[in-house]
Every structure is written in structure tokens, then in C-alpha cells.
């Protein structure tokens, strides 16, 4: 999207490019030589527009380093397919992958689990030795038949391969094709074995490809298309995010015809080729299909940001600019309506948060998209990084950060510890594996993948909750108890 803050960010007090470069050198000294060389290009002192200050990304994780990354299966199950509420998602392979990813992403859905929605359930082929030796294709066919019978309202089945499936040479695509025609519902194979690629990211891509190959264009909406039909892409409804986003978009006068994939419905997703505009929140995980729909159906797409009032207002205006005067007037009206409410939130929390410093390390869009929300509350982001981003994510990040701040890729735990300590941060926003590391060190923390079991954080509904959560993390009286008086 056009960068509405194209002006260079104001520098942060005490954050100098040279000092950050020295910190990077110090961090790299922790590593043996070979690993040092591998890690070095993945961290940089920010200097927007300067060629040498870019961060290398989407490379193999260094073995033996405590990476936070997941795998392709995690990207497919946890991110793209899992949230689609009205399908049964088969974790095909041994029991573990499905077990560990069961109900852990907080993709909320409308409906009754096991009746018309299935997203909080764990379907697994629970591979045993014999399945590995003789192959699991027959078992998969039987699984499809069984779930079709037991869950008659399910609108389809996704088959998410785990490592052994690809290694033993099973052909899930053939099974899916046959089962689909026999059962009369889409059975979508997704070859997302965990060993593919270097992170979750390839799982997103493979899943997008399976939507391209098996889903898009296979349904049409019942109602006649209108000029205001849009799809909300890359909102996974963590803690109700997509509902908060949808609410504003509808207030704007747009018809949200499909959500990819939070609280998602497969037939709506399949009919998305009929919309007029695709709005993308998480660019990383869904840009592939946005581009496919642009090429194949001529549907334009744009990125937007619904974190915090400043970015929401800018995004509403940018979205409205794609439509007529009526929508543009609505945008101004909405901004006017919510501004005092958001100001009240800022007035309440900002005095307690002004000048506090945070370090972010998250996934798809949040390392850049949440910056504005923190800044609305007076926080300063001294470093930000992604688990599984690509160059185009970093290109969108540099300008959001002040000069001299730290930008990094696939950080290991020991790096994060070093940086949090050096910058004396007041908050770390990252994942559950990192959470207790920092809390033990006396550093406030919020899980920024799962919203720490809170949310939504999107939209005007989300900002007051975000503000409350950041405030309680940093200002909880329990931090005053850490040092014993004796």
C-alpha cells in the first residue's frame, strides 16, 4: 500500500545506527564461525533507503540454534486451512502434528463444533509402523468416507500431509480426486510436509496453490454481484479479529463476501473470484492467491492495516478511495465517530506507557503492522523481526521503523535475550515459546500470535483491548515483587 507515513520516522533517543551495529557484532560473537557467517546477514541497523542495510530472509534455519520457526505443515494447518470452519481438516500422518496444533491458534468460528463447524477438532490418521511400511493411501480413502458419514454437514475435506507421507511416496492427490468424486464434496490435497521449505511460509504458499488448483472458481454467490463486494484476505480471526474488521468494512458500506480464512466458509472462498476488490491484511500468507485472482479474474488487491486508530483511519481512507463518493463520505463519518472513543483510550493509557520501549518478534504481518498501534499509545519500537518473512515484507518494514533500530530475521532465543537486555526494553511481544523466558528475566511480555488468549486486536473494537493488555503487561503490580527484600 502507499505508505501514508512516507516521511522518515523521527529518531529514537539513544538509538544510533552505529551502536546497533556494535550490538549486532557483539551478538554474532556468541556463534561459532560458520553459524556466525550464516546469521550475520539476517540482522541489520535500520536505515531506510540505504541498500546495505537490508536483511536477508527466507533462508534455512541454522541447525542447533533455538529458532521459533515452525514448518510447512504448521503454515498449512495452523494458518491457511485450519480456520476454515465448515471443513474437516485431516492431519495425515502420525498423531503428533495434529495434536500439538489442536486448538492453539485461536481461530474463532460461529457454529457448533462437530455439527456444522469442525475447526476446534483434531482429525488424524494416526500413522503406525504398518502405514509407513505399506503406505497410507487406503487408510486415507477410508478416513474420507468415515468423516463424510459422521459429519454430514461438512462442506469438504482438506488433507494436510505430514513428513512421512511425502517420504514414503504416497499419492494423496489421487486419493483425494477419487474420494471427492465418490463422496460428492471437495477433498483438497495439500502436500505440506514439514520438511518442505525453510519455515511455515512454504506451507502458506502450498496451501494457496491448493486453493488455486482445487477451490477458486468452483462456486458462485447466490446474490447478484454489486460494486461493493470485497473479500477480506489474510485475517484469521484470532480472538475475533476478523469480526472486528468485518464490522468496520460493513459500516463503510462494503459487502464482505468471504473471509480468508478466519471463520471461513469454503464455498464463499470458492466464489471469491466474483468480488471487486481483495483487501489483504496478512500479505505474507495470502499474497499468492491475491495475485492469482488479479491475473486470472482481474480483481485488484490492496493491503491495509487495522491495528490502532492512526493506521485504521489511513486504511479506511485508502480503501474508500477505491470506491465512490458515498463510501468516501462513510469513511470520514466513521473516523469522526470513532476518533473521540479512541482518544479516550489513548488518554487513559498513554500517560502510563509514554516512552516505554518494546521489542517485537512475530510472524506474518504483525512485526510491521502493529507498530502504529504501539505508537498510538506512546511506545517506541526499538527492534522488530519476523520468523518467516521474505524480502518484500522487509521492504515494507524499514520505513515503519526509526533509523538505527534493529531489524532481524528468524532470531534465535539467545539473540532476543541479548537485545532485550541491551535495550532495557519494557516489553517483548513474541510467541508462547519466548514468553516465559522473558518473564523469568523480569521483562513484561505479551504473546503476539495468540493475543495471549485475549483479543480481538483488530479494528476499533480491538484497540481498547490492545491498550488495556499492553498496559497491564507493563504495569502489573506483580513486577514489583520480583526482587525479594531480603
Amino acid at each position: 500500500m502507499e505508505n501514508e507515513n512516507a516521511a522518515v520516522k523521527a529518531p529514537l533517543e539513544g538509538i544510533e545506527k552505529q551502536a546497533t551495529e556494535e550490538l549486532i557484532d557483539k551478538t554474532l560473537e556468541l556463534y561459532p564461525e560458520k553459524a556466525r557467517k550464516k546469521r550475520a546477514p539476517h540482522m541489520s541497523a535500520n536505515d531506510p533507503g540505504v541498500e546495505g542495510c537490508t536483511v536477508k530472509s527466507n533462508r534455512k534455519t541454522v541447525p542447533g540454534v533455538m529458532s521459533a520457526r515452525g514448518c510447512a505443515y504448521a503454515g498449512a494447518k495452523g494458518v491457511v486451512w485450519g480456520p476454515i470452519r465448515d471443513m474437516t481438516h485431516i492431519s495425515h500422518g502420525p498423531v503428533g502434528c495434529g495434536y500439538y496444533s489442536w486448538g492453539t491458534r485461536r481461530n474463532l468460528v460461529e457454529g457448533h463444533q462437530g455439527v456444522d463447524v469442525f475447526s476446534a477438532m483434531q482429525f488424524t490418521s494416526d500413522f503406525q509402523e504398518k502405514d509407513v511400511v505399506y503406505g497410507g493411501d487406503k487408510k486415507l480413502a477410508k478416513i474420507c468416507t468415515e468423516v463424510r458419514e459422521l459429519f454430514p454437514l461438512a462442506k469438504g475435506i482438506s488433507v494436510l500431509s505430514e513428513c512421512p507421507v511425502g517420504l514414503i511416496g504416497d499419492d494423496i492427490n489421487a486419493v483425494a480426486k477419487k474420494s471427492s468424486s465418490e463422496l460428492g464434496v471437495p477433498v483438497v490435497p495439500c502436500n505440506c510436509e514439514g520438511f518442505r521449505g525453510v519455515s511455515q511460509s512454504l506451507g502458506h504458499h502450498i496451501s494457496n496453490d491448493s486453493i488455486r488448483d482445487y477451490v477458486i472458481g468452483t462456486y458462485e454467490f447466490k446474490d447478484e454481484p454489486t460494486d461493493y463486494d470485497i473479500a477480506l484476505i489474510g485475517d484469521y480471526n484470532i480472538g475475533g479479529d476478523a469480526w472486528a474488521s468485518k464490522k468496520i468494512l460493513e459500516e463503510l458500506g462494503l459487502n464482505v463476501k468471504a473471509i480468508w480464512t478466519g471463520d471461513g466458509q469454503i464455498e464463499h472462498i470458492a466464489a471469491t473470484h466474483q468480488v471487486k476488490l481483495n483487501l489483504i491484511h496478512c500479505y505474507r500468507s495470502m499474497n499468492y492467491m491475491a495475485k492469482v485472482m488479479e491475473e486470472r479474474y482481474g480483481i485488484p488487491w490492496m493491503e491495509f492495516n487495522f491495528f490502532g486508530p492512526t493506521k485504521i483511519a489511513a486504511s479506511l481512507r485508502a480503501i474508500a478511495a477505491r470506491f465512490d463518493q458515498k463510501i468516501q463520505d462513510n469513511a470520514e463519518r466513521i473516523i469522526e465517530k470513532y476518533t473521540p472513543m479512541m482518544q479516550a483510550v489513548v488518554d487513559e493509557y498513554r500517560p502510563r506507557l509514554e516512552g516505554k520501549r518494546a521489542l517485537l518478534f512475530v510472524g506474518g504481518l504483525r512485526p510491521r503492522h502493529t507498530i502504529g498501534a504501539y505508537e498510538d499509545l506512546g511506545l517506541e519500537i526499538v527492534g522488530t523481526g519476523y520468523e518467516f518473512a521474505h524480502n518484500d515484507d522487509y521492504d515494507r518494514t524499514y520505513e515503519e521503523m526509526a533509523k538505527g533500530t534493529l531489524i532481524f530475521d528468524d532470531a534465535s532465543e539467545i539473540e532476543l535475550e541479548t537485545w532485550a537486555k541491551e535495550y532495557k526494553v519494557d516489553l517483548v511481544g513474541s510467541g508462547v515459546k519466548e514468553k516465559y523466558v522473558f518473564q523469568k528475566a523480569g521483562i513484561p511480555f505479551r504473546q503476539m500470535h495468540s493475543w495471549d488468549y485475549s483479543g480481538p486486536y483488530h479494528g476499533y473494537d480491538g484497540f481498547p483491548i490492545f491498550a488495556r493488555d499492553i498496559d497491564m503487561a507493563i504495569n502489573s503490580p506483580t513486577w514489583g515483587l520480583v526482587k525479594a527484600p531480603f
Partner: protein, 487 residues
Amino acid sequence: MSETCAVKKVTEITPEEVARVEEWINTEEYREKNFAREAVVINPAHACQPLGAQLVAHGFEGTLPFVHGSQGCASYYRSALTRHFREPAAAVSSAMTEDGAVFGGQNNLFEGLENAYTLYKPKMMAVFTSCMPEIIGDDLTAFISNARKEGLIPEDFPVPYANTPSFNGTHINGYDAMLKSILSYLATDKKVEGKDNGKLNLIPGFDCNTGNYREYKRLCKEMGIDVTVLADVSESFDSPLDGTYRPYPGGTPLEEAADVLNAHATLSMMLHASKETIKWFKNETEAPVDVMPAPIGVANTDNFLMKLAELFGKEVPEPLKAERGRAVDAMTDAHQYLHNKKFAIWGDPDYLAGMISFLLEMGARPYHIICSRGSKKVTKYLQALLDASPYGEGCHIWMNKDLWHLRSLVMTDPVDALIGSSHGKMVARDANIPHIRHGFPVLDRVNLHRVPYIGYQGAINLLTSIANTLLEEVDRTSEDKHFEIMR
């Protein structure tokens, strides 16, 4: 679907259809269909081998769990343990990718061992495998020995390793494999003929309650017995918050672990989950090696203490006798709230054995017993427990069944409450009955992993949570005219 498929119109599921299926999935007919399935497992109560292996690794001093396989596997085990304990779970992986399938995982393991050794300064790295190296047939023995020859890790640096294929058995088998590997690595050549260090080796099994580990130690102390709790995660997963992060906050001291073959006796609390480890002990030492049910409930605790007394020639001391008396007092005071109440429980075989025993002691009925993975031998063992009590009559053991089976059972043949992991909460909601969070994992309540359920004190704790949950339910659901101050 091919492009020739006719494009269909989007349809919405109607409220009538939802209502019909909502009713149907609660019927006997559905139960029959559900139990007839042979291939799909839905909402299982078991995880895969490496999770158990990682738990064991965390239980040794200065030990870094090292997953040989994809990095995503390590992230999953770490998250699973972290979410349950709300504690860090430091572990690394060899980050194998597609090329590993072609060239094998040796290079990744080499690099991983060197980096992890330098960065995280462990005293030991415990290597275990996830799917990929198991399928391609990586030879860990050769790889690790090569890594030493290459000088990537010091010659004498301990790197025990275990094969823990996820497509064979469950987390409890991984626990066994890793524990055996670590002990045999550290202790095999440390056996001194005729030496008896006077200690007890205690194997708790796949136990994710840090309170239990502390309780084992306290009971042994009360008995005057010097104990080495093996794979002791009590500190690893319940460490103080004092402003300093420590990646290895506790665990069985390596020196103690190295001395296990010189112990006075070894006791495993897991009848069905420490086979390999026990076999190793029996081969390596003449000292007594015994396996018995975990001390859940009064009788199991009695047996545990009597076993300790017998092995070490001690008397059960007065304070423990008084503790027993208090447990019996609590159980008698509260018996009316549990008597003849029906419960559904699920989990690993040994955990179930303990829970069955406790419920029967209370005159309660472990009515539906779901064992996710187990043999005929386990069924027979659990059935014998039921047969020994009148309250076991009519109770059912459902072997190799999952929590979607449990749903059908509870809907067609109801119980008063569920006792088990957070994964049962959907069943409890649909059945509109209370759910007492217990076992592993608990993802939606705080601190339960700190409350022990073994020993006499554990029996009181268990009783307290069950009885009070039922009483709370009475208050929550009673009409005004029956809403009383006393219960």
C-alpha cells in the same frame, strides 16, 4: 476439481439441518456408527514419542533436548510443554529440510551439535528423533561418533540418543526410550561391584505435575530414604521468577544419574511405560527393581510406603501415619458427595490405573474409561481393578478409543462429571456437565500442575477439586427453593 465441473451456487447450512444433526450425533445410532470407524482418529488423548523424550531430557541437570529432525517438530514439543506448565522449554533441532531426505541428516546434526554446544553451554545434550530421520534411516550411533571425531563436540561430552519414531506408540514410549538411553549412557560403566549407595532410584513416568515430583521427594524424606528422582522436572518446569532466566533450572544431577546402578533399589511408578528402562536396570544390577502403580489414592500410597519400608528396612513414621489419617478423614467427610457418582476419565494406562483406584476408594464409579493407546494386557489390568470393587461393576474400559468416542458415550450413557485434560472441554460443554481439569495437558486453567495428586496429601487435593466442583454444580443449577447455605 476440474474446470469442466459445473459451477455451483453457495449454499448456507440451515438452522433446521443444524438442529437435526445436533440431535442425531447424540443418539445410539450415531454412537454405533462412531464406534464402527476404523481409520480416522478424532480428538485423541495421546501425543507422539518425541514429546515424552523431551520431557525426560528436561528432567536432567544442564541438559538441552535436541530434536534430530525438522525444526517444526521441536517448536511443537516446546509449545506443548510450555503451554501446560507456563514455563520456558528450551530445546533445539537439527533443522532438517528436504535435502536431508536425499543426503541424510548427518550434516545437520554436525552443525546442530556444534552450535548448540557453543551457544547454550549444556552439560549434556539428549538427542531424539522425529519422523524424517526415522524414515530415511539415519544412523545416530555413527553420526554422533563422527561428530566427536570431527571435534565438533568434546570426546567426553555426553550425548545420549534415542530413536523415537512418532508412528510407533505414544509419548509414554518416547519417555521410556529416552530415559533408558540417558541412564545407560551415564551409568553403564559406573557400576561398582558390591557398592550400595543406599539410595532409591525413583521413576515417576510421564508425569506433568511438578507438585507430584516434590511430593515423591517429601515422602521419601519422611521415610528417611535418600532418593534420586529420575527425569526430575520439578524445578525445570516450576522455577522461581527472580529476574534471571536460567535455561536449565533443575533436573536430576548428572552425577546422581551416573550412580543409579549402585543404588539400593529402583522403583518405577509406571507399570506400562518403563519397559525398556526396567529391562536395562534388571540386566545391569542385582539390586531390587520393582514396578508398581503410582501412589494415587490411599491404597496405592499405602503400598508405595510399605514397599519403601520393605526395601529399606524402615518403619512408616508417625507423621505419615497421621497424614494418612487426615486423608481418610477428608475422604470420609466428603464421601456422600462422590458416592455412586459416575465419572468419565481418559489418559495413559498408568494414570488411569491410579484414578480408577482412587475413585473406587471413594465409592465413586469410573464409569467410562478411555484409554487412547494400550494393549490387551492393559485392558486386563484395568479390568482387574474394576472387578475388585463393587463400584467397578458396570464400568467400561474403552481401549484404543478417542475423545469423539467419549462424546458418544457421555451422550448416550451419561456421567456426572469428566475428569481429564483440557481437550475434553467440548464434550463437557455439549453434555452440560462439570469438567475437572486434570492430567496433561491443562491449557485453560492455572497452576493445576503445581498441585500434587499423589500420596495422601494428593488424595486430599484430588478429592477437594472433585467434590467442590460437584458442589459448585449443585449451587449453580439448583432452583431458589433448594438453594441452601449448607451443603
